[in-house]
């Protein structure tokens, strides 16, 4: 049975005789067919980003897109006289998307061939197929979450944020405070888990444990009193970052075991991992328990490694680790390794709240009697 096709994450449009009818330089009043407008709006609502690779006068073309009321739908548009393949590759680069998640639509076979020649993985479609794109499986994600629906706005907010950061002269921490960041940690429900599932499906995430927990496994633990599934959302004055993190915690006598901590790459530069860890450490201190944390080094979670270590996690042997249940994975009789998964340990002490953001979070100690 063939696998489901790789979903398209960004569709790149040609303009003349593809997005609109006519050639702009010859006819300033080029017309946007209703069916094309529908395609743009439909794909946007599904969380598929859209961009432009067009050989045109930039200012003229952008003005026309604004007049047609659709300019806001496009991210990183490339309108100029360069090669289409350069534009397509440049857009993919800026979005940090793999080429096999990019689609390109153009009425000219020569342009499609040029793009295919230099970027064979990009899926190319002729202009006459535009109206049929939303019906194709590669443009139909199984789940469309609230974060997906506003993905384009989140990207656009992120561009504005980056631009402001570039021009900010003071220390990073002052810049972070200027963003008015608000982090919300909450006990997950079914809807939250759908947002997190998407986070774990996407490639740009920082999974500290390097251990994958399936959506079904996490759902199965929602009602388990021995486990806590928590999700993290972040927003700032530019807008929402959406669901940016997930934690899986197991309560044991004398020790809380952090089995999963994954945060989106997008929020690493805000120090989100450290804020989450410090909150958890403070909660554990209030409950009078130690913390254990699974960690497996991968080629992309170095920042989380540093966040754990700087928060104070180390490879200390401690008696609390012997109480871990044998059924649990990655628990060993002492701090150490199993299958490359280290079990790091920390004797929790109270921590001050974050200085760079406002944090709302549940009280994990409520109803829990300190064990020692």
């Amino acid at each position: 049975m063939p696998d489901a096709p790789t979903l398209v994450k960004c569709l790149i449009w040609d303009l003349d005789n593809t997005l609109w009818q006519g050639t702009l330089l010859e006819d300033p009043g080029v017309r946007l067919p209703d069916e094309i407008r529908d395609v743009i709006i439909t794909l946007d609502a599904r969380g598929i980003l859209q961009s432009i690779a067009s050989k045109n006068d930039h200012d003229l073309a952008w003005q026309r897109l604004e007049d047609l009321g659709i300019a806001e739908y496009f991210v990183h548009p490339r309108i100029g006289w360069g090669r289409k393949s350069d534009s397509v590759c440049g857009i993919a680069d800026e979005l940090n998307f793999a080429m096999n998640t990019i689609a390109f639509i153009d009425d000219l076979p020569s342009e499609r061939a040029e793009v295919s020649f230099r970027a064979a993985e990009v899926r190319c479609y002729p202009a006459e197929q535009a109206a049929s794109l939303p019906g194709r499986p590669e443009f139909r994600p199984d789940v469309v979450t609230v974060d997906a629906r506003r993905r384009r706005q989140m990207y656009q907010a992120s561009f504005r944020r980056d631009a402001e950061r570039e021009s900010f002269a003071g220390p990073d921490e002052d810049f972070l405070r200027s963003l008015e960041l608000v982090m919300a940690i909450k006990r997950a429900d079914e809807e939250d888990l759908s947002r997190v599932e998407e986070l774990t499906l996407r490639t740009s995430q920082m999974n500290a444990t390097g251990v994958h927990y399936s959506d079904a496994a996490l759902r199965g633990l929602l009602a388990d009193p021995g486990h806590e599934v928590l999700t993290v959302t972040l927003s700032d004055r530019f807008g929402p970052h959406g669901a940016v993190g997930v934690m899986l915690l197991e309560y044991r006598p004398g020790v809380w075991h952090l089995k999963l901590l994954a945060t989106s790459c997008r929020v690493v530069s805000f120090g989100a991992g450290t804020v989450i860890l410090n909150w958890l450490i403070d909660q554990a201190a209030r409950a009078g328990v130690h913390l254990a944390a699974d960690f497996r080094r991968t080629d992309r979670n170095r920042m989380m490694d540093i966040a754990y270590r700087f928060a104070g996690f180390a490879e200390d042997p401690c008696a609390c680790l012997t109480s871990t249940s044998p059924a649990s994975t990655a628990s060993t009789a002492s701090a150490g390794e199993r299958d490359g998964v280290q079990c790091l340990h920390l004797a929790a002490a109270p921590r001050p709240g974050p200085t760079t953001m406002r944090l709302t979070a549940p009280d994990l100690t409520a109803g829990r009697v300190p064990v020692r």
Partner: protein, 94 residues
């Protein structure tokens, strides 16, 4: 090995305590817009965030061709210019 002759490898010459300390002070001055004393606690004084600490790790690794891993990755090794200098020299010798 001959003795009695002053042999100074180029790399060792480039990575003295003074050189590392100076380069780090300059790096910090550029990044946090503050001139810091060698023994000034960057974190207690609020000059550096934990996020900036991560950038320091990467900066030291790339500049001095060292790998800072496991137990060496603790905040105390990054609190002051002195501590970072000592860390760099220790790891380069190791």
């Amino acid at each position: 090995m001959t003795t009695g002759q002053a042999i100074t490898p180029v790399t060792a010459e480039a990575v003295t305590a003074e050189a590392v300390s100076e380069a780090l002070t300059a790096f910090l001055a550029e990044r946090i817009k503050t001139e810091v004393a060698p023994d000034q606690d960057l974190f207690a004084s609020g000059l550096a965030s934990s996020m900036f600490a991560m950038q320091l790790v990467v900066h030291l690794e790339e500049t001095y061709d060292i790998a800072i891993i496991g137990p060496e990755l603790k905040l105390d090794n990054f609190r002051t210019v002195q501590a970072m200098t000592a860390l760099v020299l220790r790891l380069r010798d190791g």
